[in-house]
Symmetry: C2
Subunit: 197 residues, 2 copies
Amino acid sequence: MNQIDAMDRLVAEFCKLPAVGKKTAQRYAYFLLTQSEADVRNFADAMIDAKTKIHYCKICANFTDKEICDICAREKKEPIICVVKEPKDVIALEKVREFNGTYHVLHGVINPLEGKGPNDINIRSLLDRVKNENIVEVIVATNPDVEGEATAMYIANLLKPLGIKVTRIAQGISMGSELEYTDPATLSKALSSRREM
Amino acid sequence: MNQIDAMDRLVAEFCKLPAVGKKTAQRYAYFLLTQSEADVRNFADAMIDAKTKIHYCKICANFTDKEICDICAREKKEPIICVVKEPKDVIALEKVREFNGTYHVLHGVINPLEGKGPNDINIRSLLDRVKNENIVEVIVATNPDVEGEATAMYIANLLKPLGIKVTRIAQGISMGSELEYTDPATLSKALSSRREM
């Protein structure tokens, strides 16, 4: 077999990306070799540039290249904080264009199996924000899985004694889905959360 | 929406990789931001290192970091050349561990629709090799699609007048597959290429 150290190293690096196996990593590496050296240098430069320029917003911990992210810097905003697990979730929620408050990125969820407790995620600064920014409501928009629910419960127990309204995004059947193909857990949640029409 | 130029640039670079859409590119970019700066620099360095060190083997045009690739440099080798489309194909064939000849990488196939003629792929040096290396057989192992077949035909017509045995890898049903689920084109090929037992 044709062993090339530089190739193996590049494939190993691509393998670190989420959901990239050896075959895909090889495909990416071979593709890069077919590009011009200038293109490859641009790519490498974009990586380092992003890593060095982008950091957490001082307020909400979302990614930004400024001191305070564009969302926290918005002028007219409601005193509502939407708590999410990851920066990606902010993008998803911003696409809806209906929420005018700010976000708070936890960068993880409470997960005892992985040894992640409340102090390992960005919860403490949420408490400071709620007090300092005169927040009236905190929407917990963590994922509807075991860890997301546990984290939501923890945040609710933390904030309710302060007289803050804590809400959870609704769970139920997705728009456009069919009952027939909806999983039992979702159907059960949709039934128990039914609303009067 | 939170616009970060450095992020957009990195996502755009990842989008250039084969079969990577915007969602996947974002996922990769966010993953990189969660890594240490040293790790990201290592990744970027691996890219540039691979691109600058790896080039085509002077003989077979496979990727190598030496002047002549390990396969061409092997001592005991049969005077047989296996012609493939891409370096990836060499890896696949080498895994079989049955072929002791050398390879010849075309870096593409004849594809009139994309304006790729015989002069756009690495065919000319194959002719020189056949003459200089006293080759007795050329196995054409391009893919069994329209372009691969056309390229195989072209190579056969080029080499046969020189008295070289030109063969094509066999086409038929895959090992372990079921007739019921085999496509008609493959079945037809398997029937017409039947051999006496």
